[in-house]
């Protein structure tokens, strides 16, 4: 199955950097949305996750808040 992965992030947030690194290491393509530059996307992230912390990952419609490596691996079948 092809995974559809979107990450809402901020360039200076260390856990966002870690999460993106982790996806890259596992050859998972993803769409990176910089919410510091895009207020509409920031609101979309808040609506989806019900909170304001970054990163938020949308993995095939499932929402992961923070760099929760175990949950991300599980959702991606790694």
């Amino acid at each position: 199955m092809d995974n559809k992965v979107k990450i809402y992030s901020i360039p200076t947030c260390p856990y966002c950097i870690r999460a993106k690194q982790f996806l890259k290491e596992n050859n998972i393509p993803f769409e990176d949305v910089d919410v510091s530059e895009n207020q509409e996307a920031a609101q979309e992230m808040i609506d989806k996750s019900g909170q304001m912390g970054v990163p938020v990952l949308d993995i095939n419609g499932e929402i992961v808040t923070g760099f929760d490596k175990d949950r991300i691996s599980q959702l991606l079948g790694l």
Binding site: I10, C13, Y15, I17, I46, M52
Partner: protein, 300 residues
């Protein structure tokens, strides 16, 4: 059994791991995250060799250096307890148990909490401990920074660039951060400094709507959508029961980074070392690794 376990991967733990790798020790690194406080730092201008580097960039450099060696690294794992055996130490984590001949505790410090009603409920719902990470989400909003030291002023100065209004809630008579930062904060029209003021609670519905503050027994409400907590740090030493700590919870070490338990070393901000700096933590990490190596050589 490992020769060495290093708990933490900030500047101290990473430097210790580089030294241990070069001594060809059989070791394991257990850590919640990479970089520790360095990862959360804004601009760093006092790490020799880099006139200017950001916290995430320096962390990436540290990590790249560590990963040059084939290191056994358990990330996202937290040490919960230590058990002293006859000739070894057992490290219990949230995911397993590991036995080692020597140990370096380099678990660093984390943000202190306010301890007021609403803090847990609104964490990541407007309340944050990291201006560098979450600040940009508060563009055009009114926010409060709680604290009066350097980290509070640093947060306020990052926020003036994006927020509409920044209130500094300071419990003391005056700000305590560096003069150069105080001047910058004072010269910003966006900043209101509330001295002798204590935050008593946080309110809102789904997200933060405001805070209650108290000044000279007079309580009032302040409407803000963001709260940045910068009231200092506490050492991550709670798991290390049986190891001597000082009145601030910092692990006591001697000039060789030895604790009161033979074979257990500590380094960096979790210790009572004088001055907490990235470069000092890195140096302490190297001393601890060399100390652990020597301890093991003597024993064998």
């Amino acid at each position: 059994m490992y020769d060495l376990i290093i708990i933490g991967a900030g500047p101290a733990g990473i430097t210790a791991s580089v030294y241990a790798a070069r001594k060809r020790m059989n070791f394991l690194v257990i850590t919640k995250d990479i970089g520790g406080q360095t990862a959360w730092s804004g601009n760093i201008e006092n790490y020799t060799g880099y006139q200017f580097i950001s916290g995430p960039e320096l962390t990436a450099k540290f990590e790249e250096h560590m990963k040059k060696y084939n290191i056994d690294l358990k990330e996202n794992e937290q040490a919960l307890a230590l058990e002293r055996k006859e000739n070894s130490i057992l490290v219990k984590t949230d995911k397993g148990k590991y036995e080692t001949a020597t140990l370096i505790i380099a678990s660093g410090k984390t943000s202190k909490e306010l301890g007021v009603p609403g803090e847990k409920e609104f964490k990541n719902r407007g309340l944050t401990y990291c201006a560098t990470c979450d600040g940009p989400l508060f563009t055009g909003k009114d926010v409060a920074v709680v604290g009066g030291g350097n980290s509070a002023l640093d947060a306020a100065l990052q926020l003036v660039k994006i927020a509409r209004r920044v209130y500094i809630i300071n419990i003391a008579d005056n700000l305590t951060g560096d003069a150069i930062m105080q001047e910058k904060v004072n010269s910003s029209k966006k900043v209101s400094i509330l001295n002798n003021t204590r935050i008593t609670s946080i309110f809102g519905d789904k997200m933060v709507k405001g805070i209650k503050i108290e000044k000279k027994d007079k309580e009032e409400s302040l409407a803000v959508e963001g709260i940045f907590v910068e009231v200092g740090l506490k050492p991550n030493s709670a798991f290390a029961r049986g190891i001597d700590i000082n009145e601030n919870g910092e692990i006591k070490v001697n000039c060789r980074n030895e604790t009161n338990i033979p074979g257990v070393f500590a380094a960096g901000d979790v210790t009572d070392v004088v001055e907490k700096q990235i470069i000092i933590a890195a140096g302490e990490g190297s001393k601890a690794a060399l100390g652990a190596f020597r301890y093991l050589s003597r024993k064998r």
